[in-house]
Every structure is written in C-alpha cells, then in structure tokens.
C-alpha cells in the first residue's frame, strides 16, 4: 500500500494474503483517493532501476537518520579541539613547570597579598560598583519602558540590545574621546569657563563604561518581567483593600526582584571578566585579572598567566553556573494574561505627582543621553576634528598608512578585510553549532543537564583564556600521532570567535524551538519525514527569526571581539578592526576614532539585521 520509500514492503504482501485487496478494489471504483496497491508488472529494467533507486533512498535515509548524531559529534569535536583542549592547555601550563607537576604557581597566586587584594580584590570591587551603577541606571529605564506609552517606545526597547553588539574597544575609544584630557567633556566644561577634570585612568570611567554596557541589560530583563505582571493580580489586591503603593509592594515587586537579580548577576559576571574597557580606560595601573593576565602574556610569563587564568576561570564558571541555575529556577513565570495599562508620557492633568515624575523622566533622559549617546557622538566628532577644526585628516592618515605602512605596522584595509573574513568564517561555524546544541538541549534525554552545561561553558570562560590556550597549543604547534599539528592565526581566530559566539545562537533559537508544538514534528515524521528532514522542513523555517537574530549576534560579536583576537594576533597579520583601534590608540586618538567610526558603521549594519529579524521576538531575546 505504501510508496517505495515507506513501510519496508512487507505490508503489501500480507495485505494481499488477507484478501482485503478485493475490498479496496470495490472502493476504488467509487472514489479517486483510495489506497491502490501499485501494480508490479514492469520490465526487468524497470525493476533494476527501481531497485537502484530504492537502494539510494535507503542510503539517504540511513545518512539522515544519523545526521543529528553526526552534527552533535562534529560540534563536540570542534568544542573539544578549540575550547576544551586549549583551556586544558592553560590549566596544564599552570600545574606543569619545567616538566614536573607542581601546585606552586596556583598556590603562589592564592597566597599572594598582591594577587588576592590588588588584582582579584580590585576586580571584584570594580565589578560590584559597576553592577550597582548598572542597576541604578537601568531600573528607571525599565520603569519608563514598561509603565509609559510614547511614540518610539518599541524602538527604544529594542535599542536596549544595542550595547551587546557594540565592540567593547569602540565603546572604550568613545569614552576616551569623551573623558580624555582633550575630550568632549573638558571642551564643554572649558566653554562654560569651568576647570577641566581628569577622569581617564580612574575607576569612575571604568564603572560608567560598564554601566553603558550593562544598564540596558538590567532594563531589558526588568521590563520583560514588569510587562508580564498580570493587571488582574494588581486589581485583585486593590479590590481587597491595598493602596496603589501597597499593591506595588505586595504584587509587582516580588515579580520584579528575580529579574533585577538576574540582570545584576549577569552584569557582575560580565564586568568581572571585562577586558578591553579596563585596558583602555584603566591601563595597567588599574588592572583587573584579565588585564593582568594579558600583561603577563605580553611578558611571556606564561606559567604565571596560566595560574591566574585557572583561578579566574574557576570563579567565573562558578558565578555563571550559579547564574544559570538561578535563571532556570525563575524562568517560566509566564506572560501575564493582561498587562497593566500604560500611562501617557504627556499626563492628562499636571498634578504634583505627575509633574514630579515627568521632571524625573526628563532628568533621566539627559543622563541617558550623556552616558549612551555622548561617547559615540564624541568618537565621531573626534574623528572629524583636528587642531584647526573640522578635518578629514584622521581618515586620510588611515589611507596613507594603507599605502605606505611598513609590514610590521597595522594597516586599515587588511584589518577591515580580516574582520569581515573572520566574521563570515565564524558565521559558518557558529550558526550550525548553535542550532545543533539548541536542538539537543530542547530534547529530553538522560544526561541532558550535563551536555547543557558543557555546551554553555564557553559563555563563562574568558576570551583571554581561550586565546592563550589556542596560542600555547595549536598555534605554536602540537605533536599528535607522530605529526606536528599547527593551525594558522586566522583559523585560530575564527575558532575562538565561534566558540565565544555560538551560545548566542543557542540562546536565541532554543526558546523558540522549545515553544514549538512537538506534534508538528510528530506529524511530519508520521508523514514520512526523518528527524533531520522534519528539522529542516518544519522547525527551522518556524524559528528562522531566531536563527537570523543569532547569526547577526554571531557576526557582530566576531567583528567586535577583542579579547582572544588581541592575544592570537600578537605579532601576526591576522589583526582585526578592534585590534587596529587599540594599536592606533596607543599613538594618537584621531586615527583610532576614525577606525572606530568604520567599526561603528559595520556593526550598525549587523544591528539593523538583528532589529529587523530578531527585534520583533523581543521578550528575553538572548537573555
């Protein structure tokens, strides 16, 4: 009764035996849609042809049946080679000194007052301050976004994703252009007849820059929680006698606090491992662990760097694990059946309360302009000004450097070309990896939690550590099976970017996949599709927005990635735009800001794609 690729042929035979074909034939006359046994009276050639065809079909099915397993195996292999092995290399570096096993480097880190207080203590301290600043700056934003209605609210809400795709080195350059001795801030102060301030290389600059990154994150997760508060719950509390303030405290606040905690924890994790911002705004005077590890690598003190990296990774993984568990516990409170109504930004009547809150909103708006728009505007402005006012000198310098630069100098075009090449390469590796992991983590199977954690580990391990591991291992060369394996800088960079970026694909795709009705896949399979065909035909088209958004994240992250790239590009030609920005920054601000503007243009393009395809899925997005 089945076509050649279905029901392995035994059922037609038994159908014939049981004599029901005569029944079928009866019906056949009446209706055109009956199951009619195929007449097998063909020539031998036809038989051979159909045999070959069915053999090919069988082979295809065999491959398809294992395609998911194959994808998982390849993903695991890539992770093993470009993530777990390099990280292990760093760990081994920390415990093997001159060929013998020792805990001396790690113990020296853990017992040194300098490391514990000046490095780890300072890292935690600035992370804590940054977290507080981010929460303070983010919460009013969440209040405005979730409780007020105004034109452009949706756009503003989706703009909160922007910092994620901002290359950190570009943000750093913007802050230098704003707060530097000759920066915009001092220019404004000077014009007002005020004395200049020196904010660069102070912890304040670092904290504000971190808030630039993380306050939108806090605002984003809190807004999502606020919008999912069911108006009926608040109304019930009011009807039972609670005042508006009391209803807020008893009903709304308990639903917001977990979201605020998630945003704060994530901020702490990010700022604890922050590298380019601290490097550019704090220098080696205000060194966090990451910066210090980097300086050790530059001084070729690998054992010390490795020992620090081990301790840092342990802390980071612990924090991330705690975060993921907390997030997992607090997820799934569900969308409110009916969100609370929003107030208009322009009140109907100017009561004292309404006026007060509007003044507060205006004040907050100014702070937001200064913190978020200021640095980017300063960067663009600085790239276009010189001692004699408006100029294109800095861009001309880049052109000149392109034409006449010596081979050891960083030239702009290769940087742009490298960035784009690595971006595309990262896309090709990270998107399939992310999708495979998303598919695996949305299915129920034994040991899923372990796979989940292992696959998300790159989220927790800093780029510096991965870069160091890749550099010390595969880039320098590894002896395996009697041959010397060595990868070029370019491949190592793509690998490091892909490892850092694929979790963003997973986190964009997995929730959408998880929300799909499993019966869609079951329907497809009962209709004859293999598991992989069902994935390609049904699931992927339905989560396309998530895949595209994830891909845009991947591209933007690769374009802006600095941590591992700067380690791997050391002394090679595989430098990227962010690395070029940092190199120029060491000399003069102008060309660095010009390079930063080019980076901004490329990154903005990625953002447009995210906004177009991913923005409408809003909600938690990747986070």
């Amino acid at each position: 009764m089945s076509g050649p690729t279905r029901g392995n042929g035994s059922s037609p035979a038994s159908d014939g035996d049981s004599g029901d074909s005569s029944i079928s034939d009866d019906h056949d006359v009446g209706s055109g849609v009956l199951n009619v046994p195929r007449t097998d009276g063909g020539s031998e050639a036809e038989g051979a042809l159909s045999e070959a065809r069915s053999a090919a079909a069988t082979l295809r099915r065999r491959v398809e049946a294992r395609a998911l397993t194959l994808g998982a195996a390849v993903t695991a292999l890539v992770l093993l080679v470009v993530f777990y092995y390099p990280v292990a290399t760093v760990f081994v570096d920390a415990v093997f000194v001159e060929g013998r096993l020792t805990v001396e480097p790690i113990v020296s880190v853990l017992t040194s007052r300098f490391y514990l207080v000046d490095i780890f203590g300072f890292t935690a301290y600035q992370a804590l301050l940054s977290t507080i600043a981010s929460v303070l700056l983010g919460l009013p934003g969440a209040w405005i976004l979730s409780r007020f209605e105004f034109p452009g609210r949706e756009t503003l809400r989706s703009l909160t994703i922007l910092p994620f795709v901002m290359p950190s080195i570009m943000v750093a350059i913007g802050f230098v252009a704003t707060f530097g001795r000759n920066g915009t801030l001092n220019a404004v102060l000077g014009a007002l007849g005020l004395p200049p301030v020196e904010l660069l290389f102070t912890i304040e600059a670092i904290v504000i820059a971190h808030a630039f990154y993380n306050a939108p994150l806090v605002a984003r997760v809190t807004t999502a929680a606020w919008e999912s508060v069911d108006a009926s719950a608040v109304e019930t509390a009011r009807s039972l006698g609670a005042s508006p303030t009391r209803a807020f405290r008893d009903v709304v606040l308990p639903q917001l606090l977990p979201a605020v905690a998630i945003g704060a924890t994530l901020t702490f994790v990010f700022t604890f491992a922050s590298f380019p911002i601290v490097l550019a705004l704090g220098g080696f005077q205000l060194a966090t662990v990451e910066v210090f590890i980097y300086s050790r690598i530059q001084n070729l003190a690998y054992a010390e760097a490795a020992a620090l990296a081990v301790v840092e990774t342990a802390i980071s993984v612990g924090l991330t694990y705690w975060y993921l568990r907390y997030e997992g516990r607090n997820r799934g409170s569900g969308q409110g059946a009916r969100p609370q109504p929003r107030q208009s930004l322009w009140p109907d009547s100017w009561t004292a309360k309404a006026t007060g809150s509007r003044v507060a909103i205006i004040g907050y708006g100014l702070v937001v302009l200064a913190v978020f728009v200021g640095p980017i505007a300063s960067m663009v402005l600085t790239s276009l000004t010189g001692p004699q006012g408006l100029t294109l000198d800095h861009y001309l310098f880049l052109l000149e450097r392109q034409q006449t630069g010596a081979s050891y100098q960083v030239r702009p075009l290769p940087a742009i070309a490298n960035s784009l090449r690595f971006g595309v390469g990262t896309l090709l590796v990270a998107v399939p990896m992310g999708v495979v992991v998303a598919v695996l983590t949305t299915r129920e199977f034994r040991g899923r939690a372990a796979i989940d954690t292992l696959a998300m580990a790159p989220f927790a391990v800093s780029g510096i550590v991965v870069g160091l591991g890749l550099l010390r291992g595969l880039v320098f060369g590894v002896d395996a099976f009697g041959t010397r394996l060595q990868v070029t800088g370019a491949i190592a960079v793509v690998a490091a970017h892909a490892v850092g970026a694929y979790p963003f694909v997973t986190r964009n795709v997995a929730p959408l996949l998880g929300n799909l009705d499993p019966r869609l896949v079951e329907s497809a399979r009962s209709l004859g599709a293999s598991r992989v065909r069902a994935l390609v035909d049904i699931e992927l088209p339905l989560v396309a927005a998530g895949v595209v958004a994830g891909a845009a994240f991947v591209f933007a992250i690769s374009i802006g990635e600095f941590d591992s790239t700067v380690v791997l590009a050391e002394g090679s030609t595989s430098y990227t735009m962010p690395v070029a920005v940092e190199r120029y920054l060491g000399r003069r601000l102008g060309p660095a800001t010009a390079m930063g503007c080019i980076l901004l243009a490329v990154t903005s393009l990625s953002f447009v794609i995210i906004e177009r395809f991913g923005g409408r899925y809003g909600g938690r997005g990747g986070f």
């Binding site: 076509g3 279905r6 029901d20 009619v36 329907s523 399979r525 209709l527 293999s530």
Partner: protein, 394 residues
C-alpha cells in the same frame, strides 16, 4: 492492515503510564492487549490519564513500549521509526504547518512517497481537498481557517500518502458540540469509504459509542473492556465501565437467594415504557438466566444474570435510567418488577426528555422522564433489565 498489541507496557521512570501497577489488582496480564481488524474503526475511550493517548503514541512510534510487542500485520514494529510505519496521525490541535499553505500541508507527505493511486501529486492533493469538502482552500494559509476546517485539512494531510493505519488523537475535542457531531459523521463516512484501519482516541464516551465498530474502555493504564458499542453499553463487565459509559444506576449487594428462572414470570420491560432505545433481548443467553434476590442495604432487589453466582456472594449490578419506570400511581405495580420509593432532588430538562436525580436511601439514582417531577415518587424496573456487572471477590 491488522494491528495487534501484546502485553504492551509503558513506564516513565517509576511511573507506569500503561499496564498493570505492581501493587494494584488487574484483570489483564501485565500490559495492554488488543487486536484491531483490517478496516475496523476502533476507539480507545477513557478519562484523561487512562493511557489512551500513550497507547496511540506507541502505535505511531513516537514513543517505544517498555515491554510488549506491537505488530502491523504480524510484523514486529520494534525499532521502526514513525516515518517508516505508514501511519497517518491527526492531533487534537491539528498541528498544521503554519508556514506552508493548505495545499503544501496536504502535499507534505508526498515528498517522501508517491501518491498511492499512481496519480500525480497535484491531483492527489486536489482529490483529498475534495474529499474533505475544502476544494477551494488550497492556496490559503492554514491559520485563516476555522477550527473545523483546519481539522479536515489535518485529516486530508494524514490520508495523502495512503497510510495503512489512521490514528486520531481526540481530533474533535477543541470544536464546539454541533460541529463535532457533523465532523464525526464525516470522518466515519470517509473511513468506511476508504476502508482504512483506524484507531480513534477520545474521552467522550458518547462520541465513542456513536462512531466506532468496537471500543476499548480504558482506565488507569489498563483496558477494562473491549466490545461493540452496544455490548459495552448493555453488558458492562466492570463497575468502572458501568459508570463511565452512559448514565447508569449502579448497586452493590449480597445475594440472598438463587433460583432457576421461571419463564412465565418474565415481563417485557420495554413493552411498558415504549421508549426504550435499545433492544434487551438476545443477549446473555435469553430466558435460561437464573433469578437472584439481592439485598441492597436492607431492600431485596431481584435481578437476572448468567454469571455463576451463589448465595452469600457480593455482586455489583446496574440499571439504566431508561429502564426505570416512574409510577405516579402507587397502586400500579407491574408483575415481577422491583419497586423503589425515592425523593426527587433535581431535574435537568434535556429537550427530548428530562433527567431526574432521585434520592433513594443513601444513594442517588438517575431516571428519565417525559414530565418534570418533584416530591416523592415510586419507580420500578424489571429484573431482566438489571445487569450484573461483576461478582466481587470475597
């Protein structure tokens, strides 16, 4: 195609979803066993959580049994993935692919196999849309259609590749009552035209009785009874089936006396009421049945049975509401029948009749009546209309 389940069990960790619980009593041998004949319309009916959907998923191959064998035409289906089973599945929520048009949905299964009648794909799709009376819907988006239309598209999609077995999982639960009745007639008609073996899952016993060739009543992971709708309705074999299928009055009592039936004593229960929708003759061995006197809470009730029962046994028996006659006149007593004096608690007007809830001693009874009732009433029923469900173990 003939479908056979042999002692099929399904456990999720410690939880037994299908098959006998280790601690409880059971009438089956550890798992679910039944056979569905070629072209038969077979329904699994039971309350939610009874294992009917689990059974369907095992047959479709979405899950694998923990123990037991599922055979298609005698072939063991262990390890055969759903795509190789040649089954068509229709789910309660339709599960149409939202990114494909209606025609593309119906054609999806034809990507993997040729149309069974040798037609080209477009023809096959057109004839199936025709079959479900949606010839003009091909280019539309499935989400534009009403629930009933979506369900018919889902049926057309499942039938397109010419499956050997059609599996329907509560396909009409999401639809409103009137539409449900219309669609179930259409499904039954299509099924019998195609002669396709069909397993239908529903929690609605009325639907099960209306549509099936045979039904299996399931409870708590086990099959309680399998039979034609009429047999299951008239001769429930367990207290659960008696109470689950249709309205029923179930009694439990001790047998006081067993005597061979006296044919002259018999009165025809249907004769008096004239409204009995079902026949009562011809089942269970006719007039050779012995007559029992059963003590139900101090009242002696006479029932007939073909079961082997002896004095002192505890038995469960049931009487359908339509077999209980309401007597307004206290003197009118029909011969050989049982008489109960009860009080009206509540009446539900159903349109064609009235369902009356009565209080009789410490239990509630349900009867049908043409008129609204209140106050005290006298009801009687014939011993032949009482069906002994089971003899309880001592």
């Amino acid at each position: 195609m003939k479908l056979t389940l042999e002692n099929v069990r399904k456990e999720y960790g410690e939880t037994v979803a299908l098959g006998r619980r280790s601690d409880g009593e059971s009438r089956t041998d550890g798992g679910v066993t039944f056979e569905v004949g070629d072209g038969e319309f077979f329904t699994l009916v039971g309350p939610s959580g009874c294992g009917k959907t689990t059974t369907l998923r095992l047959v479709a191959g979405f899950d694998s049994p923990s123990a037991g064998i599922i055979r298609f035409d005698g072939r063991d289906m262990r390890g055969v993935p759903p795509e190789d089973r040649g089954v068509g599945v229709v789910f309660q929520n339709y599960a149409l692919f939202p990114h494909l048009s209606v025609a593309e949905n119906v054609a999806y299964g034809l990507r993997f196999s040729d149309p069974p009648d040798g037609a080209i794909r477009d023809q096959r799709v057109a004839s199936l849309l025709d079959l479900v009376d949606l010839s003009n819907a091909g280019d539309r988006d499935p989400t534009e259609l009403s629930g009933g239309q979506q369900q018919r598209i889902a049926l057309a999609r499942a039938l397109a590749p010419g499956p050997d077995l059609l599996l329907l999982d509560e396909p009409m639960s999401a639809l409103d009552a009137r539409l449900r009745e219309r669609l179930r007639m259409q499904i039954k008609e299509i099924q019998s035209t195609l002669g396709i073996t069909t397993v239908y899952v529903t929690h609605d016993q009325e639907e099960a009785l209306a549509i099936s060739d045979r039904v299996a009543v399931m409870n708590d992971g086990e099959v309680e009874q399998i039979g034609t709708p009429r047999a299951v309705y008239r001769h429930p074999e367990s207290r659960f089936v008696a109470e689950f299928v249709g309205d029923n009055n179930v009694f439990e009592g001790t047998v006081l006396d067993v005597r061979p039936r006296n044919a002259e004593n018999r009165t025809d229960a249907a004769a008096g009421s004239g409204e009995s929708p079902v026949e009562t003759k011809g089942f269970g061995g006719g007039s050779a049945e012995p007559d029992l006197a059963v003590d139900v809470g101090g009242v002696e009730i006479r029932v007939e049975t073909s079961l082997d029962v002896s004095e002192g046994d505890r038995v469960v028996f049931c009487v359908r509401p339509e077999h209980m006659e309401v007597r307004r006149d206290e003197n009118a007593r029909s011969d050989g029948s049982n008489v109960l004096d009860a009080t009206v608690v509540e009446s539900e007007f159903l349109g064609d009749s009235t369902r009356v809830y009565l209080q009789w001693r410490d239990r509630e009874l349900t009867v049908r009546s043409d008129d609204p009732l209140d106050g005290d009433v006298r009801i009687d029923f014939d011993a032949a209309d009482a069906h002994v469900v089971e003899r309880l173990k001592k």
